[in-house]
Symmetry: C3
Subunit: 677 residues, 3 copies
């Protein structure tokens, strides 16, 4: 098979008569589709009863694809169990947050602790691997689908207690970790520990818990429990398939699962790109870039796949707009810019019935190939074909790291006090957006990442500080790097207990300050912050900062001050010099311009502002192929405008030579992939 | 008994001492009240224990009414079961959407599949019929009360599976109907099928389901299951009462029950008129007119009863305003204009305690007869008495049909995609309002209605197309009629599976177009649509229309175009000529003026614009008595204004002769009933 | 021990190592803290297993406090049961409104009807009393914590039925009380009566019930059931402790518990002062004053304790602002002004983990004593020390009574009709705020209070009229007093059945009017009311008043009239002269200025307008010590302003002599305690 950017998508021919298959492949050929994902949700089809398998149709599907020269991603169908399974094993269904055992319905519906579900899903994965494992058309295995959700059943309760025994060893350590002396919760027998939900520690939903410790551990346990299913299926595949890579389709900025705990078990990362609607194109675009970065960061920067995106509309939203002309192409190339080696659709042919019947597809209900959507699919397929393998395997070297930490995400949002209106993603995306607009190449990495590679490390809302992170950050700064963190960082240890020290805990000395109080206000309350000659709006939390010298250096210098309330004139933003570097603290939540001011100052310290940093809505990203060739992507998410070509090179899409400094007219949704040289 | 417009209401003398009965009848005589509905909710009273009946008080109630010359509507009390029943048979209580078995409380609380509830309610209906069946004062039987709600208990699950076996015969057909191959839901045993609720296919409530097919069938099943109770009680009555008509009080535009499935079992239609509050008087008025029309349409245009309305306030709303002076009279005459032969109140005497103690009544807690409300009741009673039988049995001939279809209502609102903000009633009432303002006499009919009677057929949001409807519509148009339908019509078949054809499915050829894409936007997004020289606002959904010739004729002509977005300049509203007629398509949701423009164009094609079509808030309706006399009602729902008398005749209320073209000063809430001649 | 205003707070040294205790006491000495509440939530610590008690640490805590000269409030820990209890006795956990049995979690989690919880909590209270009962450092006992919540378990159902048997004697009386004939709810066996919740009579939450009677009785029962726990623990203490007063910490304006039913069982009142955030300082301040008054009124005006307040932030709110500088002092002195003899904090040392880790504390996580918060605590402690016993035991004589009635609160908010937007506290606080701003000294008392002490009695939303209240109000007026009541008063009897008489029932004659209709409108609808030359805004409910002479005197005179709607020009506010006094009726909900107009008119009739009644945001309150010395508190809740000194005297805080009429510059948060003389 030709090496090129994978192109295709989810395909369920078992739901259609054979003559439709012919239509499908004719259209695939027209569109340059070379990859199909088959088998997702086919469990009832492949195994109509516990004691009966039927691979005849899948055999035909695989053979047809192979015959057409189309590559196959073979999925295990465990994302949705069949009715017979739930009927035979009712406790394979989940118990929900409200404490109710569900009966059969929907998908992603199996209890991760059910031994029957585990046994049957793993057996089927093994059967598939045994039968198709050496088929040359199969280029990847895809386990389950969009893992997620939580079960609170008694069996999960038991598994949770086993997980806790493993983690804490004895109850004294657990009681200390959860601070159970508060409110008389000291557990004296493991059996006393319930799954934390609406019937035990919670009120007003999953983020409101009386004991953050138990809830935090239940999220960690849930992430691990779901991972257990993936790992077991993967092992069953590996028993027959030694080399073909195994993945699952993740969901980007998905709060319920800590993908960093999953990363070591994935042979490559893949994810489904359905950005939330947003008024502003750059918010949408930068959010996708952040998610691409997060996914890329799971495997240390290796290329990933976009396993799903819609060619046009979604169906599951309250309101589902069509993708505007050119947007499909623009976003697809953005994926490639950020490291995708394949860009697939959900779905190739539109479903007849049920809840995704109006979800967009390459081929609509009428099977037309003369639609705008199909034409755009064809055009993009043509470009991918023309580019061939020129970009494959490329990486995106970065000197800036953005730290993402699921534990902090969970902890800060389930905290009682200071302010429930602070949402982790809002702050993370605000800082990322500033980096993105500045054309900075950013690695989105876990707090355990090697920081010695970076000049700038940005860590918004790093509420929890674990392990030796503070030491590694200090080392970064000492050797000349820049560290930026924000309000509500450095508050708790790995068990969500407050540091018995000045805020922000392990960072206080490095930052040259302590936070004495944290004011919180309703969303409409604005405190103006003066910063480098401009005044920005701050909201939600206002930390009262006392600059204070520490062993590592002098007290922080004040860079921004509050303009209102009883703390008017006191520091809101500070910068401390430590060794050869500096450490910034932003003690409040600034508006976009305020965040940009801080971020650009830190980038400027290291000469990392990009060539089109001042052009709004235009994205610049770089990908370097294994042979060292650098490709600069220029992507216009906004209105038509003219910019200066940033580098000499050849546009891979138009074939035109471009000279740095020349004028470049960017139409809306314009894409340029400039091979430098 | 005198033949006249029935006047009276719900009456529960069993809750009061006998001396109050004397007061009641004195007041009834003053007010001209000649009809009482007795027995509603009297179960515990009539049958204090399973093995004990006590009809002594009801005997007295019936005899007293008869002695006073008051007609009786005798109700079976099955709208609320007594505590002893629920206590003896706990599974006679419902299981709710959340999967919880209820214990005793409220009303309309019985599981329709409970054999004990069925047995006991039917037995009591039989006892009543046996005892009172030949009483001459009884003019109608009234089974239960405001049927509604849903049960999801295991017994309903079993009954649902029986219903499905009846409908589909075998599981293969069921699996195809529900498209269960999607998400691995192929059922291999009937017992695997659960009632669809929050524990199975649903999330975010009853309109959010993973499988529309199962949910749609559960709604149909529920409608039939409740009907089963009505039918069984009616049969028990008919065993003793050969002729007296049997009805139940319906609720107009009530989404949970498909009244079209009930209609054949009703001897006459009756309903409870509690319009939702609305800022604009014409919205309220036209909505009531629509509901009257729907009820009238159940029995092919035969007169119906308003079984309940409040003389003043409701109690169950968050905010319960009093009816403004004259409104009771205005709305009561509007009922008659649209086909009511009786206008009754809930309630005649105000309840002492519990949740309706503040609901309005003819007689308040103090029993006063010198209140504004009582005076208005007396005045209206006097008018009804004066008019006598002049209007009884009248019908409202119409050349315009508005199609209402519960299946489409359910399907479009439970659809995932394109837009959850599209609500069936909003669109239905918008089109109806335009017809109403144009003084069009409209039949509100099911999609199975005989269309050969009509010149114009309007079908908003006809999402589902069943049976031979498309053929009948085509025939209508071919012979010179006009058909109007809208965005989101013609999408699915009877099983909610998408037509594998161009949108709008079976109507595409007739309409001379295909819809290639459907854009959906948030409610604040407006696309201006230019239509016949005016510009109107369109919202929510924007279909991208491709006019296309079809065997029946040329491509549609473009009547309106979008003014914004990438589809600016493309068709939004079209009209196709087919045979002697035309077919309109409105591919978006227009504002009121836009809808009026389309509707008036179609009415004008058939010279159906009414005499006061341009006078806002003034309603014109016609009722023709069996002797062929035409009565024109002129009802002013707005401010005082002067109009031209539309026809020669005599005002039945004032006795004045009116000449067409003369000035007629309409006070607010004015009512004129002009006997033409 | 020195007699002085108690100062200190909740203290849990069992959660900390001993060296922290040394730090604590050093800080307490600095701050003048002389009182600690210990033992709250220490159950698991004191009784680690059902058969094992461990008082060793508590012994040390008590001895240390005593050695430091610090007074002890010893709490029983029954506010939160330990895990072993819930595990051994699962039905000690509550069943919630949704009908779900909870498992272990949170606090205030025990079923009040659980015999095991009762037995174990009482036994532990007895053990504590036996061991520490004669310890001289213990100045008070504190049972449980913030009693509240409701259980709907089968055992509570049984206890409810016992309670009903006690109340009603037989089912006939119960059926009459609840008006069960409505909707066929006649109970024929006690066992048929369910606890009223989402599975029986309720929908849309606790305020929406089909039968107000059963729900009202369940609230009364719940209040009594929780009280049963308090009474039983108190009895166990009294078996060993003859004299030391016993209390529990209440919550001020807390709707779920009728504190008037609790009052006889408390040796003194205490409460936790966490005012809701509010935009306006006077709304917050007057609301606290109202709550202080309510608590004081429980024990006939005797001094009470503020058992908890935060020194800075709360944690449980969505948004938790810090207390602004001076506010801690201002609010603390306000407590004293209104009768507090002790002002305690929650908490002395900040918790490490779980849901209150960010709740403010005297000592923060770092244990700092150089913070703003600690400094303010020290300053206030110093003032309390300087004032010594000068104010102890003082009372606040009042000639104005504000009636508060939990039954009316419950009844009016669970009523179906006329308007769900009417909230009892909104109206109560509006009338109180007007009194407060006028510097009126107000007793906040139950409807059973002796009214002969008062000149003015204000009774907003007195929906339910019980016992001989109407007679006592009439006597008040006859002898020259003034009575003020509002819309929606006088509607129902003790069983929530409507009076079968003109509205407002027993008050109609006294008020010289009847209410014929009650209009209700959406919140945005304003009807202007002209009143004493001003026009005020009225909203929500508009009663149509007919002045009517009654045996006691002439018809009411009209003081205010509606300006809009069909009842424009009719009475909105009236005043009836009866005997030597007058009775006001405000038939709608007026804005603040309108309420103030009425309230000030009534105060002026008795020369009760205070010296700074026209100075916004400045509070004046008086406390008279047992020796007859009068202390006038002047508290500035607003911006800086200058006022006239109202009386001659000496400022206890500054030591300055003040002369009536001199200028007094009030800084923001200024406090003056003027000892008159």
């Amino acid at each position: 098979m030709t090496r090129r950017i994978g192109y295709g998508g989810d395909y369920n021919p078992e739901q259609w008569p054979r003559d439709v298959w012919d239509e499908d492949y004719a259209a695939f050929a027209t569109a340059g589709i070379d990859t199909v994902t088959v088998g997702v949700f086919a469990w009832a089809h492949l195994q109509p009863a516990e004691d009966r398998y039927d691979f005849s149709t899948l055999d035909a599907i695989v053979e047809r694809a192979a015959a057409e020269g189309v590559r196959i991603v073979l999925a295990t169908p465990s994302g949705a169990m069949p009715p017979w399974l739930a009927h035979a094993y009712p406790d394979a269904c989940r118990v929900d947050f409200e404490g109710r055992r569900h009966v059969y319905g929907q998908r992603h519906n199996a209890c991760p602790s059910s031994p029957d579900f585990r046994r049957l899903s793993v057996a089927l994965a093994g059967k598939l691997a045994e039968r198709y494992g050496d088929h040359p058309a199969i280029v990847a295995w895809h386990v389950g689908n969009e893992y997620g959700g939580t079960c609170w059943c008694p069996r999960c309760g038991e598994a949770f207690r086993d997980w806790l025994r493993e983690r804490y060893g004895d109850l004294d350590r657990l009681n200390a970790a959860w601070n159970t002396a508060f409110w008389s919760h000291t557990f004296t027998d493991w059996a006393q520990i319930p799954p934390p939900n609406a019937l035990s520690e919670h009120w007003r939903g999953p983020d409101h818990t009386a004991f953050q410790g138990i809830t935090l551990d239940y999220r960690r346990f849930t992430s691990d429990a779901l991972l257990g299913g993936f790992v077991a299926e993967k092992a069953a595949i590996r028993a027959h398939v030694p080399d073909t890579p195994v993945t699952t389709n993740m969901m980007g900025l998905y709060q319920p699962i800590d993908y960093h705990r999953w990363a070591p078990h994935l042979d490559f990362a893949s994810w489904d790109n359905y950005p939330p609607e947003d008024a502003s194109p750059s918010r949408t675009a930068s959010r996708m870039a952040l998610a691409h970065g997060l996914m890329r960061g799971l495997r240390d920067g290796a290329p990933f796949w976009v396993m799903e995106q819609t060619p046009s509309v979604t169906a599951s939203r309250d309101v589902n707009p069509v993708k505007r002309p050119g947007v499909l192409r623009l976003w697809s190339w953005q994926s490639v810019a950020h490291g995708a080696d394949a860009v697939l659709y959900f779905q190739l042919r539109q479903s007849r019935g049920a809840c995704e019947k109006y979800h967009g597809a390459v081929l609509d209900h009428a099977g037309r190939t003369d639609t705008r959507v199909f034409r755009e699919v064809v055009e993009l397929g043509g470009e991918f074909a023309r580019v061939g393998d020129a970009l494959l395997g490329g990486r995106t070297p970065a000197r800036v790291a953005l730290l993402v930490d699921w534990d902090s995400w969970w902890a800060v949002e389930m905290s009682d006090g200071p302010n429930r209106n602070v949402r982790y993603l809002d702050v993370l995306t605000a800082y990322h957006r500033a980096l993105w607009q500045a054309n900075a190449s950013v690695d989105v990495v876990p707090v355990t990442a090697d920081l010695t590679r970076y000049d700038v490390v940005v860590a918004p809302l790093l509420h929890m500080v674990k392990g030796d992170l503070a030491d590694r950050v200090t080392a970064l700064v000492e050797r000349g790097g820049t560290f930026v963190t924000t309000a509500l960082s450095g508050r708790v240890d790995e068990e969500d207990n407050a540091f018995l020290a000045d805020v922000p805990g392990p960072f206080a000395g490095l930052l040259g300050l302590r936070v004495e109080e944290t004011d919180a206000r309703q969303p409409h309350v604005v405190n103006p912050v003066a910063l480098d000659g401009e005044v920005h709006e701050a909201r939600h939390v206002f930390e009262l900062i006392v600059p204070e010298a520490a062993p590592g250096g002098p007290a922080a210098e004040v860079r921004g001050t509050y303009g209102a309330d009883f703390y008017a004139g006191t520091p809101a933003v500070t910068r401390a010099v430590r060794g050869a570097g500096s450490a910034w603290y932003v003690g409040t939540l600034l508006d976009d311009a305020g965040v940009a001011s801080v971020v650009r100052s830190t980038l400027a310290e290291h000469d990392l502002l990009g060539p089109l940093a001042d052009v709004p809505d235009v994205e610049v990203a770089e990908r370097v192929t294994p042979d060292g060739v650098r490709h600069l992507f220029v992507l216009n998410h906004g209105e038509a405008r003219t910019v200066r070509v940033p580098v000499d090179g050849t546009d891979l899409l138009s074939g035109h030579d471009l000279r740095a400094g020349d004028e470049l007219a960017l139409a809306p949704a314009a894409v340029h992939v400039i091979r430098r040289g």
